[in-house]
């Protein structure tokens, strides 16, 4: 084979490999090192380095071969020299060219010569000096031919684009990370605002202070037990915080009545879910269905709820969860006209009203979460903390809850079998 043909094949092979390497989005340092090897190996150059320009005068040696590692640290470039490189536009500058006016080469000529560097090739991408490549002489001892310079220019341009693209990707990833952080901050602000709003709702009712926050927490615990995603769990917590927002339009006297309210007052109070929906609907919440969960949190499976008298399948699962959390908190806290009910009494109520007022699956999930806390299986005792010390008897509670879960499970099995 003719040497010229062989050289051409060797160069083409290297260019093809370089194209592939530059497109590699994996290890940046490895990509530059391999690209440099391809350039050195194409012309059999004994030494070389790829140097990247930083934001200021700093230079970073990304790959080095056959040179003293310290050389890169001794180099620097200022703004004027960077600008001068732009004029050269990827053209190789000879270190030996004493007539040359490039001040970077002038300043570093002695050191570069000492290291056997013969060429400095700026890497210019999109009118920006990305860095430069330092190249030593050929192993053959011959000078560089015009074809060699063409090869060098083409390969250095490739390497420059590779470095530039990598940096762009890095910036993009950084921006995406910043955006994510901002989004998370915004969500946190939203949650805190909603919490503050929930506290404002509860202040209207001196007997139910903390009610909305507790309903939010109970809802979150139930949803998590049902296997909802983190996003959905956050959403239902917000729905719990806001479920009583409609009470803002109900007169304070009715909400705070220290007696059982009459039918007219009751009808006034019952307007709050629909009113809550109207308040929440225009808001662009980051979570789905929050207005609907507020609207339907007084609906019942048997159709005897309000405002729309929906039945089982028509009620969104989120609203069923908030409904149980709301009722559970109502039963386990003191009201102006009654004391809170005992835990066995509450469990009995949940059992009796499953399938009528509450969804059995939701009650089971809540009972499972409580059981985990009572038996110590759960790391945190969040429900027990909200209920207060001494409310749950740890000796009798596990049995009560297990019975409730077993009863509801067998009831659901029968329901499924009869439906099948």
């Amino acid at each position: 084979m003719e040497p010229s043909t062989q050289k051409l094949i060797h160069t083409f092979g290297a260019l093809a490999d370089l194209g592939q390497e530059v497109a590699n989005t994996g290890d940046f340092a490895a990509m530059v090192r391999t690209s440099m090897h391809l350039l050195l190996g194409t012309l059999a150059l004994r030494r070389g380095a790829v140097v990247e320009c930083g934001h200021s005068d700093s230079l970073q040696c990304v790959a080095i071969w056959g040179l003293d590692d310290a050389v890169a640290k001794e180099l620097s470039i200022d703004e004027t020299e960077r600008a001068a490189f732009l004029i050269e536009d990827n053209c190789a500058l000879s270190v030996k060219d004493i007539e040359g006016s490039n001040s970077f080469i002038k300043r570093h000529r002695d050191r570069l010569t000492e290291e056997g560097i013969e060429l400095v090739i700026p890497m210019i991408v999109r009118n920006e000096t990305t860095g430069f490549v330092l190249l030593g002489g050929k192993a053959s001892g011959e000078g560089f031919s015009p074809e060699d310079f063409d090869t060098i220019h083409a390969m250095v341009r490739h390497i420059g684009v590779g470095i530039h693209t990598h940096r762009l990707m890095e910036q993009l990833a950084q921006r995406a990370e910043e955006n994510l952080r901002l989004y998370q901050d915004l969500r946190a602000i939203y949650r805190d605002t909603v919490k503050a709003f929930a506290a404002a709702i509860d202040i209207k009712d001196k007997y139910t202070q903390g009610h909305s926050e507790r309903v939010g927490r109970y809802s979150e615990i139930i949803a998590r037990e049902l296997g909802w995603s983190e996003e959905e769990v956050e959403g239902i917590q917000i729905a719990g915080y806001l479920h009583d927002v409609g009470k803002l339009i109900v007169e304070r006297d009715i909400i705070n009545a220290p007696y059982q309210i009459d039918a007219k007052q009751s009808s006034e109070l019952n307007r709050h879910p629909a009113a809550g929906y109207e308040i929440l609907r225009p808001i662009n919440h980051p979570y789905a269905d929050i207005p609907l969960m507020a609207k339907y949190h007084h609906e019942r499976l048997d159709g005897r709820g309000y405002p729309d008298g929906l039945t089982d399948e028509q009620i969104p699962l989120g609203a069923k969860i908030v409904s149980l959390a709301d009722s559970f908190d109502a039963m386990t806290t003191d009201r102006p006209y009654r004391r809170r009910r005992s835990f066995p009494d509450v469990v009995r109520d949940l059992r009796q009203n499953s399938g009528k007022q509450f969804d059995g699956k939701v009650v089971t999930a809540f009972a499972r979460a409580m059981l985990k806390e009572v038996t110590g299986e759960a790391k945190e005792r969040r429900i027990m903390k909200m209920l207060g010390k001494g409310y749950i008897n740890p000796d009798e509670a596990p049995l009560l809850l297990k019975d409730l879960i077993d009863d509801l499970d067998s009831e659901m099995k029968v329901k499924v079998e009869s439906a099948g």
Binding site: M1, K7, H37, L39, G41, L45, R46, A139, S140
Partner: protein, 155 residues
């Protein structure tokens, strides 16, 4: 007359083993090393390293590591055997030049053995043959290096 002793050991245990041979005056023993995918052995203070069928980035870097390790262990000459090598790409050339640089810095001599004709043409075209001696085979390379004194060699 030494009797060849072939052992397959890790590179980590090689130095310990080599020292123990020195202590016993057995430095002429032939110890075959399997380090990663690179096969090598020592004949006295000469290391013979076998290049794989395709000398590219992956295999080239392994050979380079092995050469450096051998020089650090006190070898004064390197034989890189290309009997299995069918192709050498640009990265392989660059790595071989790096090995030549390191050998020169260490005052060690380097011989390429059993190189196929296409690769010889490539080495000649690129000027590698100005820095290394080519030998027909490993035996010729070893006899070429016999009696070599690192101090007398300068490139």
């Amino acid at each position: 007359m030494w009797s060849p002793l072939y052992l397959k050991i890790t590179s980590k245990s090689y130095n310990v083993l080599q020292r123990s041979f020195y202590f016993q005056g057995r430095e002429d023993c032939l110890v075959e090393i399997i380090s990663g995918a690179v096969r090598s052995h020592c004949v006295g203070t000469t290391a013979v390293i076998y290049a794989s069928d395709y000398l590219n980035k992956l295999t080239g870097e392994k050979i380079e590591r092995e050469c450096r390790r051998q020089l650090d262990s006190g070898c004064r000459a390197l034989v890189i055997d290309f009997s299995d090598t069918k192709l050498v790409n640009s990265i392989g050339i660059s790595i071989l030049l790096g090995i030549i640089n390191v050998a020169e810095k260490n005052g060690a001599r380097i011989v390429f053995s059993d190189v196929n004709i296409q690769t010889i043409q490539l080495f000649e075209m690129l000027g590698l043959t100005r820095h290394v001696v080519l030998a027909k085979n490993e035996q010729e390379a070893l006899s070429n290096l016999s009696g070599f004194d690192a101090k007398t060699v300068a490139h």
